[in-house]
Amino acid sequence: MKKLSFYLLAFLFIGCSHIDESERLIYVPPIDVQRAVLIEDFTGQACVNCPAASDVILDLQNTFGEINIVPVAIHSGPFAHKRSNMSGPFLSDLGTADGDEFFTHWGIEAQPGVKINRGAPIYDPNQYAAAVQAEMQKTSPVYFEVFKAICDDGKTINVVIHPSIPTTDIDARLQVWIVEDGINAEGGNSTYVQMMGDGSANENYVHNHVFRASMTDNLYGDPYRQGAGEKFLVEFNYSKAVESPWKVENLSVVAFLWNEKDGVLCVSRTKVKR
């Protein structure tokens, strides 16, 4: 009887050891990267949970390479700030009217929220990796054979894009964006403070790949149609004046072809050269 009691009590007290999620080793199988992936990150300086999502995106870049992960931080929605509507001690202009238009157009409901290759919005950063890997394994029917961004006078950015001969018929739109890295406190009364997860205001936060402006005539891209195997003879040329307070040395250009049916077909990022 004593033995029975012992086993009964032992059964009650012995359980499987719990291993916290963060401590579990997750096997990430090697994947064959077929194409780069665009991550549109709808973020904001007042969004306390956004820095954690940015860290997840940074981890993806470290894992798969910057060439394969092309994030764009679109400061938008209720948690972004524009200099014109601020009265506090920290002024910034990371928010844009175009960013708010994208935020509304795509029906973003919470921040951080991302669209990966123009798929449905994802609000849980734990789900980014799976979506990115799925998109990476798809093949792209077209890529950019020539993609140059030059600002030799420090005043105007000129972009030249020439797509490759596609393997299938393409009916898409070409979007071209200017993004900026390394944005942080610039002295005086203007800083780029970021609210953090613990509720503190980080005055030294560095904002990367921030959407600055669109270069195309149409905000959702210029039409691009090409038959399979057909050589495209015309180059796409875009120009945009450098605005204050952009720093040319920190600017890059992101270009991508997309349509409603397939999402992003191909994406690439190139640094603005002087």
Partner: protein, 213 residues
């Protein structure tokens, strides 16, 4: 034998009781905010961007060694203007209308205590009271169906966030002491001023002789 079974039953009961207390609201210091509590907040503060916020001051904590999934159901019962924001567990959401809402669910570790960053942002001079009910719940997650299942309805609290109009009569404060009693020189209480010397008592404890002509 009976003793053993009684002990086992007691252990099971205790374990069950502990499970029922898994998710809790807390204040900044970690003190538990119990079920049914009503909090009144009438002090706002400006954030780094110059926005005036009235914070609920609520945190979520869990009383278990295991990682659990937690979410909050909340109802904005009244909001005269502005918006109500909540940043829990991994997103930030801005609500501009009254109604019932739920946050996403997220995993929570045993030692975690997270500010839910729930606050009312009234419009400029948008005086009034925003009332919100919040309930924290525990879920399990089915990885196959990718669905969360409610396993525990935790405590529910009400928060009234009031932006007081400084010009309102209710909020007027005066430094002038108020008269509480008046006497004549014979020490008899009088209801109003009389000619001659009046002895006037004030609510600040002072007594003053006043001459009325």
């Amino acid at each position: 034998m009976k003793k053993i079974f009684t002990s086992v039953l007691m252990l099971l009961f205790a374990a069950n009781f502990a499970l029922a207390q898994t998710v809790q609201f807390a204040d900044k210091s970690g003190n538990t905010v119990s079920d049914g509590t009503t909090l009144n907040v009438d002090e706002g503060e400006k954030d780094a961007f110059g926005d005036l916020l009235f914070k609920t001051g609520l945190y979520v904590k869990v009383a278990t060694d295991e990682t659990v999934f937690v979410g909050i159901d909340y109802e904005i019962k009244s909001m005269p203007n502005g918006s109500f924001r909540i940043c829990f567990p991994q997103n930030c959401v801005n609500r501009t209308a009254v109604g019932q809402y739920s946050t996403d669910k997220g995993s929570f570790g045993a030692t975690d205590k997270k500010d839910i960053q729930a606050e009312w942002i009234p419009e400029e001079n948008g005086f009034g009271t925003c009332t919100v009910d919040l309930q924290v719940n525990r879920y399990t997650y089915n990885a196959l169906t990718k669905e969360y299942n409610l396993v525990e309805s935790g405590p529910k609290v009400t928060v009234n966030m009031t932006y007081k109009d400084p010009a309102s009569v209710d909020n007027l404060e005066t430094d002038q002491p108020q008269e509480t009693a008046r006497y004549n020189t014979a020490g008899q209480r009088i209801s109003e001023g009389q000619k001659g010397v009046n002895i006037v008592k004030y609510d600040n404890g002072k007594t003053v002789k006043k001459v009325t002509k």
